[in-house]
């Protein structure tokens, strides 16, 4: 069992308070996933020509300023790290893929949690409420966000094994369920050049999407491919730079509910995580059909 939440702002009021709402939603999903929690927040775009990375260090005394100085020496510019808990967001004067490769090469002790122009991922072991406090989630503003509370089944309870997973620029995935063919699929995707950092099944699904998108599929097509190529059960929520998407497996093993008002679109494993949002009582509400891809994107709203 795990809990998923997603929130897509349609008004500036919701954007300004995104972190507050996300934290309230996450707390409601605590009982579905007390092991670990994580969020992906889309916010504060990096200026043109630059990108941002979310980095994680297991060392509580990590000196993030030094990493930023090295990035400045390598790519130019002077930026301060934005530190939250065990994570730091750093701006880099290069494209995200290059910046990510540099960190992996020069700082193998760090984990790149996300790379792109707008995405930031924070995740940690422990109860969701404590995680939200440690990472000051309520401070965050942004356009949209996904959250996850984990009850581990397929792999260990570690920071790296927590969700969201990102294996593509500005792309992330949260998952409720478990996949049966992830080992086979991981081998196949490695041959295609997709890199994996854990033995986790969800990371394989994220890698699968990254691969399909790289090969030219739209987000919708990539998700539809999951229906054929993934064996197991899942409710997925996928975040991209512009929006988010939801897919349930064709058997509908795992729950999901969607709701929409003039101010927001929200998804959650259970309705009580949506009930904390303003205007939830009057929201249009429905259960996503199994095997059907639902997409919201900034341009489309």
């Amino acid at each position: 069992m795990c809990g998923i939440v997603g929130l897509f702002a349609k008004s500036t009021e919701i954007e300004d308070e995104l972190g507050v709402h996300l934290t309230a939603m996450l707390a409601q999903m605590s009982n579905r996933g007390p092991d670990s929690a994580g969020v992906a927040v889309y916010r504060d775009p990096a200026p043109p020509g630059s990108s941002k990375l979310t980095l994680y260090s297991a060392d509580p005394n990590q000196h993030w300023g030094a990493v930023c100085d090295e990035l400045g020496d390598a790519f130019g510019g002077e930026h301060e790290p934005s530190v939250r808990g065990s994570h730091a967001v750093v701006l880099v004067e290069s494209d995200a893929a290059e910046a990510e490769a540099w960190v992996r090469r020069n700082h193998p002790e760090l984990r790149v949690m996300s790379a792109g122009r707008v995405i930031e991922i924070y995740k940690e072991v422990g109860r969701p409420e404590i995680f939200a406090e440690q990472f000051h989630l309520t401070d965050l503003q942004g356009t949209h966000a996904l959250g996850h509370t984990r009850m581990a089944t397929e792999s260990r309870v570690t920071t790296e094994g927590s969700h969201p997973f990102s294996t593509g620029l500005d792309l992330c995935l949260v998952h409720n369920g478990s996949l049966s063919n992830h080992n086979t699929l991981r081998r196949a995707l490695r041959r295609e050049g997709i890199e994996f950092q854990t033995e986790n099944d969800t990371e394989v699904a994220a890698g699968y999407l990254a691969w399909r998108l790289r090969e030219g599929a739209s987000l919708e097509q990539a998700l539809e491919g999951c229906l054929d190529d993934l064996d197991g059960f899942y409710t997925f929520a996928v975040g991209t730079a512009d929006g988010f998407a939801v897919l349930r497996d064709p058997i509908a093993c795992k729950p999901a509910v969607l709701a929409e008002t003039d101010d927001w679109v929200a998804m959650a494993s259970e309705y009580h995580a949506i009930a904390v949002l303003p205007g939830a009582d009057d929201a249009r509400m429905w259960e996503p059909e199994p095997g059907v891809v639902y997409v919201w994107e900034k341009a489309a709203v």
């Binding site: 058997i251 509908a252 259970e270 009580h272 009930a275 259960e287």
Partner: protein
């Protein structure tokens, strides 16, 4: 909690009253035979297990959406939800009436032995799974695997039914007005005779649905061809 004197209704606000306290008070009426019989629950906010395990002739109205297992194991009571319901609505209901004005998530009426369950919106997957005597009326449509291994009782669906309707069904009767995406193993269409029309009419009337014709429904049930129906296999049980 305040007493609404005009309606003699006990109002419980779940924004301030713990859910366990509400359920305990409802159970206490059955246990002691004393206490209010009309109840109104406000601010359920998707809480699970609201009004579960009732065992008295209570009238409970819930204003808002409820979570999982609402009115589960209901006996004698009448429960109305003015909103949507999550997974396992009226699961294992024994008797009484449960009405949802919105939609219900999966496994509505699962394993229920008796009573009447009415969903005015849609019911999702596995509606009436392993039903054992309950009557279920759905104003909208039901999802896949509805009435899976349904043993007895009726499922009346004014809209459509999803894939694998009535898979491995026993003696339950399924009345569907719209499209059936697919029939499950051993489920077949059967003739609508006068007794069936009368049964649909009666159930629609009891559900308060008066703009739908019984003659528009088609009946589905068991072909009785699976292993369990072969007398040679009786010794296996």
């Amino acid at each position: 909690m305040v007493a609404d004197a005009a309606l003699a209704t006990e109002v419980v606000d779940l924004a301030v009253t713990p859910l366990r306290e509400l359920n305990q008070r409802l159970h206490d009426v059955a246990r002691t035979g004393a206490g209010p019989t009309r109840w109104r629950v406000v601010n359920p906010r998707g809480a699970h297990a609201v009004a579960c395990g009732l065992d008295a002739e209570l009238d409970v109205e819930i204003d808002g959406h409820v979570g999982y297992y609402c009115a589960g194991m209901n006996k004698h009571a009448s429960v109305r939800v003015r909103g949507n319901a999550g997974t396992g609505l009226a699961e294992n209901m024994m008797s009484g009436t449960v009405v949802v004005e919105g939609s219900a998530s999966q496994s509505a009426g699962a394993t229920a032995h008796g009573g009447l369950l009415v969903v005015h919106g849609d019911a999702a997957a596995r509606c009436g799974i392993s039903m054992k005597g309950v009557n279920i009326v759905v104003r909208g449509s039901v999802g896949h695997l509805s009435a899976f291994m349904a043993q007895t009782g009726c499922l009346v669906v004014c809209g459509d039914a999803g894939e694998a309707l009535g898979d491995s069904i026993y003696e339950a009767r399924l009345y569907i007005r719209g499209e059936v995406a697919g029939l499950g193993a051993d489920c077949i269409e059967k003739e609508m005779r006068e007794e069936h029309l009368a049964q649909v009419r009666d159930l629609l009337a009891r559900a308060g649905i008066d703009d739908v014709e019984a003659g528009d429904f088609r009946r589905y049930g068991s072909a009785r061809q699976l292993y369990t129906f072969k007398v040679d296999n009786a010794g296996a049980y």
